[in-house]
Amino acid sequence: MLGEEFPEVLRAALDGDENAFARLYRDAHPPLLRYLTTLSPQYAEDAASETWLELARSRDTFAGPELGFRAWLFSVARHKVVDRVRYEARRPSTPSDDLEPLGSTSPDVADRVVEDDATARALALVRTLPPDQAEAVLLRVMAGLDYPEVAQVMDRSTGAVRVLVHRGLRRLQDRLPSVAADGVTR
């Protein structure tokens, strides 16, 4: 997160400052990509690119806080990937691997995207969760959104996403030792 500098950086980026946009991108693109890859490894890159373009074409200035901007970003990205998955699923004679539902990412696919060992393992672990739990945990813990924003992005109630995050984290906690033995935690 860019913190207090965020409004300035975003404003400059929208004014065409390439350096400012690069800062924004470097900060928000990795979590966005990790999130999208969890939803759909096939279309994650496309959806992320389209999301940034959507921002480029936006006339909004996102005068609000950084979290509001992130919520917008993840929300747009989610729509794009969900639409794409639905579209591909409706196409006749679609290869069966395109019909893979959201969240059914296998860890090895995800590993291709992220080289960093600890990050890759952490993501792989999260992706063993039920899809909606994994999504809620990533939005809350990785993207740093508050519960109402997670709820907004996932189009669920705040209470529902609280439960999802809670259960997901508890489940992760139970599974952590095996990962820790693998070296995720120091």
């Binding site: 991108y25 990790r34 996102f62 950084e66 917008w72 080289e115 924003e149 609280r162 952590l176 995720v184």
Partner: protein
């Protein structure tokens, strides 16, 4: 990055509330393994993840430029002077156009009805093919008498069919004459040569020098009445026919209304990126 926001938020972790720990993530901070997991999830981007950065930056900048070309987003502070400049340009252009008409009238080169009109309004030569039945006006085709308001078409003296063009013409003449008298011929000739030529032509039609013509226009002393009435209209020659301000799009700060329903209750303006675990469900 503030990777520890979630797990380290709050220095005094509360015991579980009535909802258990559902509403709080604070238990995470006691768990070193979960903390490491969180940090790993929030780690900065890898080169692999950022491999398309250059392309993304270029595409973004190109889109913003294209957007700016279609409708420049002008900051409020600079928008107004631009509007004023455009207004002034518009006013000058209007004056030039109108005086071009005056010049044409002065040389008698307008179509017959227009020339007749010009004759009655600014004293231009009468149309060559004079027919006395042009207007059923209160004033037949007799010679123009000074000091008498000219009502060309309808019989009502209060209606002003001639007022729009005449006052506009007057405004154009008055505006350019004001500029001429103020700046002097060289400036006027240099900057508005077309307008200056029109002034010369209009003055010549009155057998006057430009200076005396302009003096009579801007300071009517019972000279051509229509000009006099025009000058009352034309007391504000700088008023453009239309404010040319619509190039800049308004609403640069609409916040987050982008069709994605960003209307959550979080527009609190807090700059802190810290997610705050809420205490109550």
């Amino acid at each position: 990055m503030t990777e520890r926001d979630v797990v380290q938020h709050g220095e005094s972790p509360e015991p579980h509330d009535e909802h258990g720990d559902l509403g709080s993530d604070r238990w995470l901070e006691d768990d070193m393994e979960m903390r490491a997991l969180t940090e790993a999830l929030r780690a900065p981007g890898t080169p692999d993840e950022l491999q398309h950065e250059e392309h993304a930056v270029a595409a973004f900048a190109a889109e913003r430029r294209a957007l700016a070309d279609v409708a420049p987003v002008v900051p409020l502070t600079t928008r107004r002077p631009i509007g004023r400049t455009a207004a002034v340009i518009g006013g000058v252009a209007a004056g030039v156009l109108l005086l071009s008409g005056v010049a044409a009238a002065a040389t008698g080169s307008l179509p017959e009805p227009l020339q007749r009109f010009a004759h009655s309004v600014i004293g231009a030569p009468e149309p060559a093919t004079s027919s006395s039945s042009v207007t059923a006006s209160s004033r037949p085709s007799g010679s123009r008498s000074s000091g008498e308001p000219v009502v060309s078409t309808s019989g009502s003296p209060t209606t002003k069919p001639a007022s729009t063009p005449s006052s506009a013409t007057g405004a154009g003449a008055v505006g350019l004459c004001t500029a001429f008298l103020k700046d002097g011929a060289p400036v006027a000739a240099k900057e508005h040569s077309q307008a200056y030529a029109a002034l010369v032509a209009a003055a010549a039609a009155h057998s006057q020098s430009v200076t005396s013509y302009c003096t009579s226009v801007t300071h009517p002393t019972g000279k051509p009445t229509t000009i006099a009435s025009a000058s009352s209209h034309g007391s504000k020659p700088a008023t453009p026919p239309g404010q040319v301000k619509k190039t800049a799009t308004p609403a640069p700060s609409s916040g987050n209304g982008n069709g994605n329903g960003n209307g959550n209750g979080h527009a609190t303006g807090k700059p802190s990126p810290k997610p705050k675990p809420s205490k109550s469900a």
